[in-house]
């Protein structure tokens, strides 16, 4: 196979070829690195490429395989992670100037587990600064472009994680999802992205944005790829007290079980309003496909969804205002030069280090927590959370999964919404409730609108990622593999 053909494989197919001895990890890794070198100048998915380390890891994997000690489907597979995951000895920036030059002394749990499974880390992926954004335009380093149309955003905040897969630069990625940051870019880039149940994957070693909402998760070009990655990273972790004690399920074994008998809840509130007609059409077609496959549709209501965005921006910014306090110029990262005194050290380091969006959110969150506002704002927002969760609990007595759009529109143009933060915040209108309710949510491609990918969102019961993946796989099998984006090839 040519290098180009190799990088077009799914993780599953690449893994099968490794197992069959038809390709080596070094060949896969070299092919990916070449693809990154050829395309990333236009995509901007990578902030750091760790070529030498990747080749050394690939050789180690090939040696394991040669001696019969290959460890599973990820052994030898080139992957990359959002630059929010700490990687020992490899720069980790969170997409922010304030962490420029920061070299972590430890690996986060998810990264450590990927590496223990034999995966080859190619590098660190672009994102909105501290995961704050829906378009990757808030990266302090460079914008990321959608491989389907380079003038458009890949979505955010895990933009690099979705774009790298769409651009065939690697076989699997990790992202994080606080309000939709895995599902939105997956939808915009035509790949599969899963936000697990809060507590399914350890947050240890993932830079915190909003601690009670953040959840790391996998992205892949297929559901099988995502299921394999989730199997590797999910499960209890003593380093994260909010990580569930419940062991991870076997996400691959039930993948082909189909959609027959599945009860799909369709929330009234997620259709209409700002939903673009062509996006709605793809979503409704997907629902019809499920019916054809033997699933039943149940109309449900999530009446408190409409308070979701308001509650989200209070809770997320409040937690962020505390989480970002440690970036103070004292111990690591950027320290403003030439300052006099402590106050100036803090003020100048943070002024120079943080971009506009983190500053905006730190200020919002600081107000939300201030005396006099806390009761009215933060506590109210927590109550909304409970109400939203109850909506879902009620719905799940009548259905097994909830289905709807991921976003109101397909990928928008770079620069289109940067002037209007409120418009940008609407990108998360359908995804945010899932974080507030701590539920698993997934985006699976369901066709194109105006030549751009559209994702179907599936939301499941707590810790029922297996059902989500099985349902997504049924649709994927029916629709066939999504076409590869052509924007890169046309200009290559």
């Amino acid at each position: 196979m040519s290098a180009g053909e190799l990088t077009g494989l799914s993780l599953q197919a690449a893994s099968a070829r490794l197992a069959a001895g038809q390709v080596s990890s070094r060949q896969l890794t070299e092919a990916c690195l070449a693809r990154v070198a050829a395309t990333d100048g236009r995509v901007g998915a990578f902030l750091t490429v760790t070529g030498e380390r990747a080749l050394a890891a690939a050789d180690a994997s090939d040696a394991r395989r040669a001696s019969g000690r290959a460890s599973g489907p990820l052994d030898g597979i080139p992957v990359a992670v959002k630059d929010l995951f700490l990687t020992r000895g490899v720069a980790t920036t969170a997409g922010s100037r304030i962490l420029e030059g920061f070299i972590p002394p430890y690996d986060g749990t998810a990264v450590a587990r990927l590496q223990a499974a034999g995966a080859v880390l190619l590098g660190k992926l672009n994102l909105d600064e501290f995961a704050m954004g829906s378009s990757n335009e808030h990266s302090a380093y460079k914008p990321c472009h959608n491989p389907w149309d380079l003038s458009r955003t890949p979505g955010g905040s895990s933009g690099g994680s979705a774009a790298a897969l769409a651009a065939r630069q690697c076989f699997g990625t990790l992202g994080t999802d606080t309000g939709g940051s895995i599902r939105l870019p997956a939808s915009f880039c035509g790949v599969v992205g899963l936000k697990p149940t809060y507590g399914r994957v350890s947050r240890y070693g993932v830079i915190a944005f909003a601690s009670s909402l953040d959840q790391p998760g996998p992205l892949g070009r297929t559901t099988w790829d995502v299921a394999a990655l989730l199997s590797a990273i999910a499960g209890p972790d003593p380093h994260d007290p909010t990580c569930a004690a419940r062991p991870a399920d076997d996400y691959l074994s039930a993948l082909e079980n189909g959609a027959r008998g599945l009860r799909i809840g369709v929330p009234r509130e997620w259709f209409g309003g700002g939903l673009q007609p062509e996006v709605e059409a793809r979503v409704r077609e997907a629902l019809a496909t499920y019916q054809r496959l033997g699933a039943t549709l149940v109309e449900i209501s999530l009446p408190h969804s409409r308070y979701g965005i308001g509650a989200y921006y209070l809770i997320a910014t409040a937690e962020a205002s505390a989480n970002l306090a440690r970036y103070d110029g004292v111990r690591f990262g950027l320290r403003a030069p030439g300052v006099r005194g402590l106050k100036e050290l803090y003020a100048e380091s943070r002024e120079q280090g943080f971009g506009a969006e983190p500053k905006r959110r730190i200020m919002l969150g600081t107000y939300a927590l201030s005396a006099g506002y806390y009761q009215a704002d933060y506590l109210r927002a927590q109550q909304v959370r409970t109400l939203i969760r109850r909506d879902f609990d009620a719905a799940f007595t009548r259905c097994d999964v909830v289905a709807g759009p991921v976003a109101p529109w397909p990928a928008f143009k770079l620069g289109e919404k940067t002037g209007d933060p409120l418009q940008m915040y609407l990108a998360d209108i359908f995804t945010i409730t899932c974080n507030l309710a701590a539920l698993p949510g997934l985006s699976v491609p369901c066709g194109l609108a105006g030549g751009l990918p559209v994702g179907l969102q599936l939301v499941g019961r707590p810790f029922d990622e297996a059902t989500l993946l099985t349902a997504a796989r049924a649709l994927e099998r029916e629709l066939g593999p999504p076409p590869a984006p052509t924007a890169l090839e046309a200009k290559a």
Binding site: P104, P241, T242, E319
Partner: protein, 491 residues
Amino acid sequence: MPVADFEVVLGLEVHAQLLTRTKIFCGCSTAFGAEPNSQVCPICLGMPGVLPALNAQVVEWAVKTGLALGCAVQPVSVFSRKNYFYPDLPKGYQISQFELPICLGGGLTITVDGQEKLIRLTRIHMEEDAGKNLHELAADGGSGVDLNRAGVPLLEIVSEPDLRSADEAVEYLKALRAILLALGVNDGNLEEGSFRCDANVSVMRRGATEYGTRAEIKNMNSFRFLKQAVDFEVRRQVALVEAGEPVVQETRLYDPVRGETRSMRSKEEAHDYRYFPEPDLPPVRVDEALLARVRASLPELPRARAARYQQVLGLPAQDAGVLVGDGALADFFDAALAARGGGAEAARKVANWTIGELSRLMNETGLPPPAWKLTPAGLAEVLALLDAGTVSGAGAKALVEELFRAGGDPGALVKSRGLAQVSDQGAIEAAVDAVLAASPADLERHRSGKKDLTGFFVGQVMKALKGQGNPGVVNALLKKKLGGLPPGEGR
């Protein structure tokens, strides 16, 4: 004296470092005095991406302390973030408890001027200590931060404003310290700051019903400084009120050199700490099983112990107080008495030796109890040797000292150090005869009744016996030999 026209209203906030082996949210050592920043890890350094993992022993000891102080231990309590910027606070927030602390209510009884008084507690909560700023490091003109202490577990124990004088505050702090020592959860070291207190002080005219404006006093690292600081602050506030000036709500720092308090920050400058529940830690749950287990592990507490010493063993209140003021001394006393056996008489002797000799050696050497080589059984054996006349009082003291520093077998030491007392009649009589024969002039002066020289002769005989003569035998023999003329009778 105008101060007498005022009533002092006083509450203490005590911060007690827990003696857990590791920090509250990570596995780093809590040992004091290590090289700066040698006991740190990504978690207590507040690195990006880290999460706290609660040390279960901290919860257990908070429960233990709460039970010992009669608090209502809460089945569910919640950690919160207290937000403020300071270089010794790596995360930019302290993980503490705010709205839902682990213990509510409770109290402890103090005795002042023979009067018992209950001081109520408001709450006890768990939190992490901060690091230390080191301004003297200044190699490059800058300041340093030592984060060894960051993340050391603290209990904050807050009293109600039930204290009415500096003396009561000191008694309260001593009683609380003794309880924490007895529980084994804190080392009670005010000087090193592992047991420290802030005082909320206000004054009001006698008979008034509304408390005055309070000032919070910090930096009092001894009982003496607490008393001085409170006394100063009371005088200052009374003077303000007398002059018709307002007392400002503020935080004041005690300066032990000048013996005064100074304004540190006013209420206007006070932080809005923006507390909110710590999302990284689930609520702390204390179930019945844990409560039962901790309750069963509670030791006898100082007040109960002191009462037992007085009522059952007949010790004077003063001695009982000294023993229970330091749990290690009381434990030693109990064990030594058990080894020695006997009733009130034995108890008094063991107490005297524990308070006199052991506590002297402890203070002189500064050695903590685990480093004492003297065992309770060792002291019991020394006292047995003393009672049997095998060693003299001086010999026993020498033995105790040697055992404390180096250990060993008391019986063997008596031999090897030549500490055995001479009780043999013949040997002592020979010595007496020799002394009398060597001093005919003194003997004559004594016998003539001009001067009572009994003491002088005892000294001479003891000297001849190298200090090891049994004083009883020496006295009896001398008395006989000095003739039927008891000294002083000629007067």
